[in-house]
């Protein structure tokens, strides 16, 4: 079980728990504002963009090349950007804080 904190663009904090699927699915299922997951998680739409807290980057790891290519063309992207659909939920993600980009 991983406890994940989402901070939405209106500065609301939501703490939700999950044990399978992706961060995008967890957010959509919990109605986190700004995470749409339009393409269902195949890295095609970038509507699940989050900024990982700098101290949590070691837990999430880096974006893959295809994910980076997608984020490169997102004006809000930075070194801490990830797509939620590419973050598989596991115990390793327990306690991370994600800021929703949109």
């Amino acid at each position: 079980m991983a406890k994940i904190t989402f901070i939405t663009s209106d500065n609301e904090t939501h703490i939700v728990e999950g044990d399978s699927g992706s961060v995008m699915e967890l957010a959509v299922n919990n109605g986190i504002q700004g995470i749409d997951g339009d393409c269902g998680g195949v890295c095609s739409c970038a509507t699940c963009h989050v900024h990982v807290s700098p101290e949590d980057i070691s837990k999430t790891g880096e974006a893959s090349e295809i994910e980076k290519d997608m984020l490169e063309l997102d004006d809000n992207a930075d070194a801490y950007s990830r797509l939620g659909c590419q973050l598989a939920i596991s115990d390793a993600l327990d306690g991370i804080v994600l800021r929703v980009a949109k």
């Binding site: 195949v42 890295c43 095609s44 893959s64 295809i66 290519d69 997608m70 063309l73």
Partner: protein
């Protein structure tokens, strides 16, 4: 196994030079073919604009048959963003369960009908009715209105003789004018009325802007949805094993929809007008000329997609551009995806097999390239799972 196949006519040009050239009504187009160039140029709205003369960014150009600016489609940021934000919540309604239930009922009815009929011509007797009936949900108007749209036939701007038909286009524009006048007299909860009551920059939308959104909604979601649905039927006819897999693994339906959309690329390309002398793929492009973002080619780019010419139903990473990319990505995508998901789930549940009887391909003439985008006609026989 090749009736349902959609070849990639762009491969050699994409590998050798990265672009193609098309003369469209004496307003030539440089077609960008590589995934990376297509996405970068779609994102660069300053050099490659959408807010040109209405109709010019469409390929083939519609400048001779249309004066109304499609909104938000033919606007650039920041104007574009205001209109997009205004209409976006409405176009996300397909995520609501009530909408999904109604769509499901429509599509199950359509499938039950073809299962109890002999041979069916899919384009006119299946895809067009599904598309038209679903549009009544998107517009939030009575189901019966679809009969009018079905009577227009498959193409709003095209007839069998010509790629662009001004008389046919006028039918749509006159119809929308009438509907707007009707909504002014009798406001309701339909899209026309909602738009007429909306404000941008503290002022009401003009009639022309309302018309612009409606023309976009009608035109953008017609041939594209019809081709996606028809191509899906042809594919499942030749791949009953895929239908069976989706029956056993409904959890991959979402992936399958994205993959079918990648493979079919129902909209081949979309243009932009160039604002300054620039170059793409080491090819010089002059200010006030046109480029196009060739979604269909980008979706077969082997540097991005493994086995690009195969349908891999559960493809995990699939950064396709079938719904465009960046600022102008498809406003109707949520609706289209919901149609496709519902259709596939229903086919898997109800249909055992589909036999193709005969067909005539719909091939776009792009000068340098000939691209099959779907079918003019395709007769099939649907066989029920529970006989």
């Amino acid at each position: 196994m090749k009736k349902s196949k959609l070849q990639d006519p762009f491969e050699q040009a994409r590998i050798n030079k990265g672009y193609g050239e098309m003369n469209d009504q004496d307003d030539p187009v440089v077609m960008l073919l590589c995934h990376k160039d297509v996405r970068k140029s779609a994102h660069n709205y300053k050099t490659f604009i959408s807010g040109a003369t209405p109709g010019r960014i469409v390929v083939p150009s519609e400048v001779n048959i249309r004066d109304t600016r499609q909104v938000p489609f033919e606007l650039d940021p920041p104007e574009h963003g205001k209109f997009r934000a205004l209409v976006e919540p409405w176009f996300k309604r397909p995520l609501q369960s009530e909408y999904q239930e109604q769509l499901k009922e429509q599509i199950y009815t359509a499938i039950n009908t073809v299962l109890s009929t002999g041979t069916v011509e899919v384009v006119n007797e299946f895809s067009l009715p599904i598309q038209s009936h679903a549009l009544t949900l998107l517009l939030n108007i009575p189901f019966s209105e679809a009969e009018t749209w079905i009577s227009w036939g498959t193409h709003v701007f095209r007839s069998e003789e010509t790629a662009l038909d001004g008389d046919k286009a006028a039918i749509l524009y006159d119809y929308i004018d009438e509907q707007i006048e009707h909504a002014i007299q009798h406001p309701g909860e339909d899209l026309y009325s909602v738009l007429l009551a909306s404000e941008v920059d503290g002022r009401k939308l003009t009639k022309e802007e309302v018309k612009g959104v409606m023309v976009l909604t009608f035109a953008g979601g017609r041939d594209t949805v019809i081709n996606a649905v028809t191509n899906s039927i042809a594919y499942f006819a030749e791949h009953p094993e895929s239908l069976e897999r989706l029956r056993n693994e409904p959890e991959i339906i979402g992936n399958a929809v994205e993959e079918l959309m990648r493979y079919f690329s129902p909209l081949t390309q979309m243009g932009r007008v160039v604002t300054e002398d620039t170059q793409v793929c080491e090819h010089a492009i002059k200010a006030d000329s046109r480029i196009s973002l060739c979604w269909a080619s980008a979706n077969r780019d082997a540097s991005v997609f493994e086995r690009p010419n195969e349908i891999v139903l559960d493809r995990k990473i699939n950064p396709h551009v079938s719904f465009g990319f960046s600022h102008h990505n498809c406003l109707g995508a949520t609706h289209a995806r919901q149609i496709m998901k519902t259709l596939i789930a229903a086919l898997a549940e109800k249909v055992d097999s589909i036999e193709i009887v005969d067909y005539k391909e719909n091939v776009e003439d792009l000068d340098e390239f000939q691209r099959k985008v779907g079918y003019e006609k395709i007769h099939v026989k649907f066989n029920s799972l529970t006989k």
